[in-house]
């Protein structure tokens, strides 16, 4: 075994997105006054906390070769249901928060079970779940509900001071915890490695004797938990619940995962990449804000182009590594061919 560290090509898409983030950041600093303040970066985290959490959950789903369209609806449902419970019934947040998280978990486990045991496309099952939860929002309340709960307000307004006059919110701390747990799960547990294996080839994972059923269900369960948690974070961020919140957010999450270098076909990608995928989107938004004279919808256009670019990049890498493999095969053959043929001739 060679001890030299070889940069595996599977890291490349992620490195490209990290590079892109740094480039955009540099552009912002050069172009706009005040962009270099660390608070600009911290605001990225504060404003995108919910998207970060749900995108991290989505990364596991996509790594396993699946997709989950229900996250936006689950987030909206969580905000409405939390607001309803807090304001109308007066339940304590100590009850409400665990309850909505449990609903997210149950939702994910149910969806995962259907997908695995009934062999239904994840697209369809999660689409159904999306409609169900979006509809349930309006069963609870057709209007936005403002959250006046003391605890929520306190958490929302709390600023954790950092160097200088900069600060982060409690939501950012939650994101960092989720990120650490996700990194641990993905790289240091059998669960995480099995997710990669399933994304690489479900059939092989099964033949290798890995717990495919359990892992697939757990992936959707984890994502259900992440979307409910994102919902809690979002209700703290908005201090209200509304059925029209986060429409289409599932697509932002998927785009973040792809821009972060994860293959939509599963098996290749990194949680860290996804973080940069989200931050790139946030950064584009910030740049457009600093620019001042551009419509904020330009963010969507740029994100669309970026997503396309990353998908093209991935297929280019896939094609190149295939031809590289062919070339290396030929090289080994050329090296050894004469001796083996000679051995054959002696027979």
């Amino acid at each position: 075994m060679s001890t030299k560290f070889n940069l595996d090509r599977k890291f490349l898409p992620m490195l490209v997105s990290i590079g892109l983030f740094l480039l955009l950041y540099l552009y912002g600093i050069v172009q706009y006054k005040g962009f270099s303040s660390p608070q600009v970066f911290f605001n990225l985290l504060i404003d995108n906390a919910f998207l970060l959490i749900t995108s991290i959950g989505m990364t596991f789903v996509i790594l396993s070769g699946g997709i989950d369209l229900s996250v936006g609806a689950v987030i909206a449902f969580t905000t409405v249901f939390s607001a309803f419970l807090l304001e109308t019934t007066g339940l304590s947040p100590a009850v409400v928060i665990p309850l909505v998280l449990l609903i997210g978990v149950a939702q994910g486990a149910f969806v995962g079970t259907i997908i695995h045991y009934f062999k239904v496309q994840p697209f369809i099952v999660t689409l159904a779940s999306m409609f169900f939860f979006r509809g349930m929002c309006f069963v609870i309340s057709t209007d936005a509900i403002t959250i006046t709960n003391e605890f929520y307000r306190a958490v929302a307004l709390f600023r954790i001071p950092l160097i200088g006059k900069t600060f982060i919110s409690i939501n950012v701390v939650i994101v960092l915890v989720v990120l650490l747990v996700a990194l641990y799960l993905a790289h240091l547990t059998r669960f995480g490695r099995t997710v990669y294996a399933i994304g690489g080839s479900e059939q092989s994972a099964l033949l290798m004797g890995l717990p495919v059923a359990r892992t697939k269900i757990l992936v959707y369960t984890l994502n259900g938990f992440c979307s409910a948690l994102a919902g809690v974070v979002f209700s703290i961020y908005m201090l209200s619940g509304y059925g029209l919140y986060t429409t289409g957010l599932e697509l932002d999450a998927i785009a973040s995962v792809v821009i972060g270098g994860t293959m939509l076909t599963g098996g290749v990608g990194y949680v860290i990449g996804t973080v940069f995928g989200v931050l790139i989107q946030g950064l584009i938004q910030t740049i457009i804000m600093f620019q001042g004279d551009l419509n904020s919808w330009w963010t969507k256009i740029v994100v669309g182009l970026l997503t396309l670019f990353f998908i093209a990049l991935q297929s280019a890498f896939a094609a190149r590594s295939k031809s590289r493999l062919a070339a290396s095969t030929q090289k080994t053959l050329a090296m050894h061919a004469p001796t083996s043929a000679a051995a054959g001739a002696q027979k």
Binding site: M1, D8, R9, R193, G200, G209, R324, A337, A341
Partner: protein, 505 residues
């Protein structure tokens, strides 16, 4: 009569699927430290026997004794736990994971509540080193060639401490050198007392490594023989269940064709080359002959075919067809001027599994007509039926989905697709890979028949005897260049091998 040395004894195994007797009263035994070849044509029951042994299917009758105790595995997992591991033709591992993970995932070492990557990598390289494979185990498996992937699959089986290793056509995508490496590993495992079941279509390989041979035909046991006591011709006769008049037919056909060649070549290249993949090559192909290409996998044979058909663009040289230079070669242009190309990798490049036999056969005709000149349904059926008959494709109807046919029949469907375009020049790249002896003989015969009808064929194959049997002239490739052209009496096995090896005879 269970001997003490029998590691595995399968007795009176029968398995019926609705309407089919897949296995009828088959016995099979495996000693410790033995390589036992399981032979038979496609559909003879080899896979069903293996599936019963590995718990994928359950037998209707019969018992399995493993180490003298009766077992009944219910799943591949259970079989693995008992010590029966299988390495399939298509490697069933995860290409996106590292080599080390592929060997150890599911039994990976842990430390401080997480996967211990250092121990994992160390253990994996220990196993691979024992197999004489020196690679970076941290790289993705997909970065390595199939041969290495197969070694990794074997390593995984070793890690589970398998007592029986089943190798299901492990060599069909390996080069000669890689195959030899695999055999070394097999002999090593054998000396450790492991029992190995070896399934292959290659007779050479059976005689190179196997101690005993069990032959199945149509779900019945033909017999178990010591390799040394069974001459090749007898083995072939036992497998196909008829004598070898077909081979004689073929030599007569070969005599008949290739006699009167036109004075002008129908296809000619001068200095045709592609930087990095093919040194400039001169070729003449005449109507009515079969031009064979010999050489190792990766010696540039497929690259020639790709250039000739316009799949790849040449960097230098000229290509002339029927006296007219081809300026901008492309596959579509090639089809239109009456050429056909049956590529090497039929799964990836040829067959459309979810379409019917009829739809697959008419695909190329339709493409050459253009998609707007729709071929009428009854004409399609007529064409399909004609080629099903000519090529002896076994399918219940023209509407059967191609993925439900056996490998040999799929290959014939691809051939039918190109024959249906009535080409003058036919390029066949490994047309008989992975199909059984009976179907191979039929395809070889067909190629010769086409030559007698005045068509020109290029026949590329890794199996020398096949090239010898069909070709009137043989071009030998080595290191991406044409190194020799052999005609008539010069075409013999020894000479070709020496040329491939680069020794001057």
């Amino acid at each position: 009569m269970a001997e003490v040395t029998d590691l595995l004894l399968m007795q009176g195994i029968s398995k019926t699927f609705p309407g089919v007797h897949a296995l009828a009263n088959v016995d099979f035994s495996l000693h410790r430290g033995e390589i036992h070849a399981l032979m038979g044509e496609n559909g003879a029951g080899k896979s069903t026997l293996i599936k019963v042994l590995t718990g994928v299917e359950r037998q209707n009758e019969g018992i399995i004794l493993f180490d003298g105790k009766e077992i009944q595995p219910r799943s591949p997992l259970q079989a693995q736990a008992l010590g029966i591991s299988t390495v399939y033709q298509e490697v069933n591992l995860c290409p996106n994971l590292s080599v080390a993970e592929n060997i150890l995932l599911g039994r990976e070492p842990h430390r401080f509540g997480g996967v211990d990557w250092r121990a994992l990598n160390r253990r994996a390289s220990e196993i691979l080193t024992w197999l004489d494979v020196d690679i970076d185990v941290r790289q993705s498996l997909g970065a390595y060639p199939v041969a290495i992937q197969q070694m990794v699959a074997i390593s995984r089986a070793l890690e589970i401490s398998a007592k029986i290793l089943i190798l299901d056509e492990p060599t069909s995508s390996l080069s000669a050198y890689e195959t030899e490496k695999l055999f070394e590993v097999m002999r090593k495992l054998k000396s450790e007392g492991m029992g190995i079941v070896f399934i292959t279509h290659f007779l050479d390989q059976v005689y190179a490594v196997a101690d005993r041979i069990t032959v199945l035909r149509n779900g019945q046991l033909v017999g178990t023989f010591a390799t040394a006591a069974l001459p090749r011709y007898e083995l072939v006769a036992k497998m196909i269940g008829r004598n070898l008049t077909e081979l004689e037919d073929m030599s007569r056909l070969k005599e008949a064709s290739g006699q009167e060649l036109a004075s002008e070549p129908t296809l000619q290249t001068r200095g045709l080359g592609h930087i990095g993949t093919l040194h400039p090559i001169d070729l003449d192909l005449y109507s009515g002959e079969v031009l064979g290409f010999a050489g190792l996998l990766g010696s540039g044979r497929t690259e020639v075919a790709n250039l000739l058909f316009g799949v790849d663009k040449a960097d230098s040289g000229t290509l002339t067809v029927n006296g007219k230079p081809v300026e901008k070669p492309s596959p579509l242009h090639s089809i239109q001027i009456g050429r056909a190309y049956c590529p090497e990798d039929r799964k990836a490049d040829g067959i459309v599994g979810d379409l019917s036999v009829r739809e697959n056969i008419i695909l190329a005709i339709q493409a050459s007509r253009g998609w707007f000149k729709y071929l009428e349904r009854d004409k399609q059926v007529a064409i399909a039926e004609r080629y099903i008959q000519v090529l002896n494709i076994s399918t219940p109807s023209t509407e059967q989905l191609v993925k439900n046919l056996s490998g040999g029949n799929q290959q014939k469907v691809i051939l039918a697709r190109w024959l249906a375009t009535e080409p003058n020049i036919l390029i066949l790249d490994e047309p008989t890979r992975g199909i059984d002896i009976g179907a191979k003989a039929e395809i070889q015969k067909l190629v010769l028949t086409l030559a007698t009808e005045g068509k020109a064929c290029i026949f590329i194959s890794s199996e020398l005897d096949e090239v010898l049997r069909t070709s009137h002239r043989v071009i030998v490739m080595r290191d991406h260049a044409k190194v020799a052209e052999l005609v008539g009496n010069e075409i013999d096995e020894e000479k070709i091998m020496q040329t491939i090896a680069g020794e001057t005879p």
